[in-house]
Structure formats: structure tokens, C-alpha cells
Symmetry: C2
Subunit: 233 residues, 2 copies
């Protein structure tokens, strides 16, 4: 059994609840906002992948915030929704004031008290992450806030996942990588991390021929998993 010596978290959807973005979209476009938020999110991730794959040297890399704007404009255009500057600004502004999932702050503090260094490893660029950490009340809880921006490759590129072991100076298997995205938990497992998938949406496992080391519904289940690994949390 691997000893867990640090915990690294994905950011959006894992630490930060992005539902408020959908809620705001629905408020601005009643009956159509959810579709907008869904296509927006889909294209945001698609663009990270299309760009990363096309240039392993980071040639077509563009920071996550810029992709987020591109994806929103694409989604609105495709759904034939008029996005004036003020409306676009309102939607994007939601990203600057995300909340933590309710159990997260308590769980993070317990992990820290147990002596585990904590980190974030996100597709988001540093400016986005900095604002999100503060607005979710998580300032000072993380030893390392790592952005793939440093390597110009998005997850699931190994260069992105390699940021964790490098920052914590630990082998990947001694770091617990936590994500609410099934594909991200799978990618991190391939890389060599011990992994935990917070399956908040109750989705089936991704069929990628690899399974995260553990799975649960929220951060309290993560604490159980860490306890079972011998950490007194």
C-alpha cells in the first residue's frame, strides 16, 4: 500500500462549484441558458485538447481563460443567442466569484491538520486560479497552486501531470490526485498518481481501461479513503 504524502486537487468542478455559471446563464437566457453552459463547457475542454494534440511543443497553446472566452462566443453563436459585451462580461464574471462545494473547506483543513501538504493542479491559468482560490475562501490552504500554463500542455498530457511530483519533490504514487472529472482521474492514474474520483454527478466510469484508485461522491468520501490509507485525518 502506497503511503500518501501529499494531496493535489483539480480546480473547476472539484474544489470550485461551477454551477453558478449555469445558473447565471439560465437567468440571462431563460429556457436556453443550460444548453449554453453545456456547449460552452464542452467546447472549452475540446479546445484544450485540439490545441494540445496539434502541437506537442505547445505551438498552438492558448491560456485557459482565453479558451474560455472563445468557447463562450462559439457556443452563443451556434445556439443563435446574442451575446452583447455586457452579457458576455456577466457570464465570464461568474468565474471570478465561484464558491467552494459546501464540505470542501472543512475537508481541506482536516487534511492540512493531518500534516499533508496540499496543492492544485489545473488547466486554469495562474490569474484565474488566484482569483478563484481567494473567492472560495481557500487562501493559504495550498502549498502549491500549479497551472499547466507552465508547460503549455493541457491535461491529459504527461507534461501537465508531471508538475505535481516536481513541485512536491515526491514520486507520483505518493501523491493523491483528486478530480471530479472521470477522464482527469484516469489520466492521472495513467501518469502514476494514486487517484480519487469525486463522482459528484453520479456518472458511470469512463471506459478507458484504467480505474482511479478510489471513487466517492464528495470530499467526505475522500477523507475516508485517506483514512484507509493510514493517515489519521
Amino acid at each position: 500500500m502506497n503511503k500518501i504524502r501529499a494531496v493535489v486537487f483539480d480546480a473547476y468542478g472539484t474544489l470550485f462549484d461551477v454551477y453558478s455559471v449555469t445558473a447565471r446563464a439560465e437567468q440571462l437566457f431563460p429556457g436556453k441558458g443550460e444548453a449554453l453552459a453545456l456547449l460552452w463547457r464542452e467546447r472549452q475542454i475540446d479546445y484544450t485538447r485540439i490545441r494540445s494534440m496539434a502541437g506537442a511543443d505547445g505551438k498552438y497553446y492558448k491560456p485557459f481563460w482565453a479558451l474560455t472566452v472563445d468557447a463562450l462566443r462559439y457556443a452563443a453563436e451556434r445556439l443563435r443567442m446574442t451575446l452583447d459585451d455586457a452579457t458576455e462580461a456577466q457570464l465570464l464574471k461568474e468565474y471570478t466569484c465561484l464558491s467552494a462545494f459546501p464540505e470542501n473547506l472543512g475537508a481541506l483543513k482536516r487534511l492540512r491538520r493531518a500534516g499533508l501538504p496540499l496543492g492544485i493542479l489545473s488547466n486554469g491559468n495562474a490569474e484565474m486560479l488566484d482569483i478563484s482560490v481567494k473567492s472560495a475562501g481557500m487562501h493559504g490552504l495550498f502549498d502549491h497552486v500549479l497551472s499547466v500554463d507552465a508547460v503549455r500542455q493541457y491535461k491529459t498530457a504527461p507534461e501537465a501531470y508531471a508538475l505535481g511530483p516536481k513541485a512536491f519533490k515526491l514520486p507520483a504514487e505518493e501523491i493523491l490526485f483528486v478530480s471530479s472529472n472521470g477522464w482527469d482521474a484516469c489520466g492521472a492514474t495513467w501518469f502514476g498518481y494514486t487517484t480519487f474520483w469525486i463522482n459528484r454527478a453520479g456518472h458511470p466510469a469512463e471506459r478507458l481501461d484504467v480505474a482511479p484508485s478510489g471513487t466517492g461522491h464528495d470530499m467526505n468520501d475522500l477523507l475516508e479513503f485517506v483514512r484507509a490509507k493510514g493517515v489519521d485525518v
Copy 2:
């Protein structure tokens, strides 16, 4: 102005009409089949990307047919639709008897008569492509049927697009790459091909900071584009 010396096509959605897959899904699961087909297609593409990005050396590569099966099973499970062996086989079988879009055969023959060598460059593996070419009545029309399987990297990886220039022994800019997927046309443009996006669905342009050399609604618009490039077609 580049001279066009060969034309290479994406396969599924570009040469072969995959709508029959959705129609069969809807027939098998009335009112829910379209959602199944949509999520199936989404995960099929996601899995090509997640696997390609995780291992630039093809370490996590799996042939497209196997991914297609994985994606179907995921989609059915997520939508809580029971997929017994017979139903699964019926849905998959649709891929073995796809039709050509109505104008495609005539257009391909005109391009050939104009002296242009033709090819396919697809994510699909050789067995899938072979069956599809025959069932769509396109046997004998292509000089090269190229599958990314040869390099174990899916599009938009440059290794995948490099198969065209290598097979035709031509620089990429002298090959016209044709796709109905906006992202594929963009990826091929980045690589260096002259490109044409057949925007059958009438979608907005992908916001990837790159534009295909030409865009149209169907294969007849492609013929116009080729004519404007000085080919008597």
C-alpha cells in the same frame, strides 16, 4: 496560389453519412435514441483525444472501432438505457452499411476524371474503412486509404496528418484536405494542408484562430473551390 495536386478526405460525416446510426438508435429507443447517438459520438471523439494526449508515443492508443464500442457502452450506461448484446450489435452494425452523401459519388468521379489522385485520411482503422468504402459504393476511387492506426495518434496530432504528404509524395500545401468537422479542417490547416470545410450542419466557425482555406455546404461547393484553384473539374 497553390496548385492542387491531390485531394484527401476525412471519412465519417464527410464521405459517409452517419445519420443512419442516429436513425437506428431512435428506432430502437424511441424518444431517447438521438441523445444516445449524440453522447456516443461525443465520447468516441473524447476518447481519441484523451488517449492521444496521455501518450504521445501511442502508449494508450486503442483502435477507433474499439473506442466506438467503449463509447457506445458508456453512453448507454450514462443514459440508463439497457443495451443487450443484440441491440448493441444492431447499433454497431450500422457502421458497416453507411451510405455516401447523395452528391459525393458524382463529385469524386469528377475529381478523378480531372486527373487528381484521391485519398482518405481517417481516425477509423483499416477494417472499418474498408467496409465503409465498399458499402458506400466507393471501391476503386481512392489511391490511398490512410488510417491513423499506422501512427497510433489520432487527429489533430501532426503525426496523423503527416500520413497524407507521405503517401502522395507531395508537400501538404499541394494537397487539398476536406472535412465536415470544423476542428479537423482547422487541424489540417495548422499542419499545412490547403483545406476545405464542408459545413453540412451550418455551424459557426470554430474559434481556433485559424481558418480553412475554403468553406461550403456540400461536395458541389468543393468542386467550385477546386475550379477556382485552376483545375478543370
